[in-house]
Subunit: 299 residues, 2 copies
């Protein structure tokens, strides 16, 4: 069932296409561009697991909830078509919190001209439960996969890494939340590299984990230069290598890539190699294994 | 992120088309038939809200979780393309329960040749949280909407109504759960009436509520004959009129409709009229207002 949400915001307003029918029928109806395939991604944002109400303002939680989904569309080189939100709220949550959550979510949606076209609502017995579904499109056979990296390809990353991990450490030390830590899904970069990148993934679980997914799916290894990894302000190399929720794009390419794409810095951080090993090279040329340590171990 | 599920069952096995890429990339990639539009529906199944573990076996809960979504696709006259499941489990849930839940869900998925193509997994702090997403297709401009009913159209319903409400009452009286109360989504009927029906909805919230949605979206009223409403065994007229979760199709048509479609009984229960009123006529011809009382008031 496609249901209205406990917010005044109505779906599809201002963006009649590609949402042919949104909230108010059993399903939403979406139109694809000719020659496109459908992309689908779903991501939970659960209170106490993915966010804490005392660690971030509601608008930031709403932004991040949608950013998770849009970032998956970006990683495929896709365009988002419509967003669906299943939201379960405990009775105790105030309408003001919900309004601000939607404000943050819809501000991001509007920036990419993607409509909230439905979802489900329910009462939760404990904690806020959100599941964001983003449906997108990509030209047939052109979606960026994890499986296309080949030995000799350069390894690139957009923006900077470790900001979310650094913020998490600050909050654990009882710092005040900084609302400006809001990752921007790299949709325009993803679309721009569709003809260039051989493989792509978004950095949601941390560089080491997400690089291991590319290596595994492509049957290759990688050598990363520690000095080249672009760490965010306040982030250690450890945070940049293993911290998650940065939502930058990690991709490989056989061809040279510009240093800036769609206004976003792109950094060459290493090379794809034969074999299955992932290694880290320091400034002196010394190599060590790059362990796969996700987000979780930093918590 | 499209993640593997805590089950041995892998997506897409046996049904390579229309799932071009499933579990194991950032998004699933789905191919549509030429000339089709995309249908999307999402439905929560939350423990303590939509189901109780002591009131139904895990396979039945899994079946119902998916039936909710497939029924929405049926109500649009669509074909399901792929299923996504976001599932959060408390640590305390045993793998045996999860396996049986998936068994019930996948048995239904296999019956309609639709693959589980992804979703998300997380740990829940309390209760089992499932969000089912079904993506389907329908020929461009041919999806059945709630808004097409016109005065003079007949009102039809598939199968029988009130079985879920009767079962709920039995369970409240401490009866043992009857696993056979498993609604069958009416996908084949929905597809068969695509050229005939003027409006359609699935009976998820109860006949009176779902009929009111058709009336509201179409700007019409309806007269229902009490004697014609097909009550399930053990269900009162009240249960058939207002009980939910039967997942039958309620539709309108200007043209005559066969008494059986795709092996499912179809019953003419009334007529669409001008105005906005919904009325119930008894055997003696006496009319009274048909109140909109959903599922909830029976709980």
């Amino acid at each position: 069932m496609t249901q209205a949400h406990p917010s005044q915001h109505r779906a599809g307003v201002g963006y009649p296409h590609p949402v042919i029918a949104g909230i108010g029928d059993d399903c939403a109806v979406l139109g694809l561009k000719p020659g496109c395939e459908v992309l689908v991604t779903t991501d939970f944002s659960l209170e106490g697991v993915h966010f804490r109400r005392d660690w971030a303002p509601p608008a930031v939680i709403g932004h991040r909830c949608l950013a998770r989904g849009l970032s998956d569309i970006a990683a495929m080189g896709g365009e988002p078509l419509a967003v669906f939100l299943s939201l379960a709220l405990p009775k105790s949550v105030e309408q003001g919190w919900v309004d601000k959550f939607f404000k943050g979510l819809l501000k991001l949606a509007n920036r990419y001209k993607v409509a909230l076209a439905g979802g489900d609502v329910a009462q939760s017995q404990q904690g806020i439960l959100a599941d964001i579904i983003v449906v997108g499109q990509a030209p047939k056979g052109r979606a960026l996969m994890r499986s296309g990296a080949r030995a000799g390809d350069g390894v690139y990353v957009t923006g900077e890494l470790g900001a979310a991990a650094a913020e998490m450490q600050r909050l654990r030390g009882r710092g005040r939340p900084r609302p400006e830590v809001m990752a921007e899904p790299r949709l325009l970069v993803g679309q721009a590299i569709r003809g260039t990148a051989s493989a792509c993934i978004d950095v949601s679980d941390g560089l080491s984990t997400d690089l291991s997914h590319i290596c595994q799916e492509s049957g290759v290894g990688a050598v990363i230069e520690a000095e080249a990894v672009p760490a965010a302000k306040g982030a250690t190399l450890e945070m940049a290598l293993h911290g998650g929720e940065d939502y930058e794009l990690l991709f490989t390419s056989a061809r040279p890539v510009p240093e800036s794409i769609a206004g976003v810095r792109v950094t060459l951080i290493g090379e794809i190699v034969r074999g299955r090993k992932m290694e880290l090279v320091d400034a002196s040329g010394k190599r060590r294994e790059l362990p796969v340590r996700g987000w979780e171990h930093l918590r």
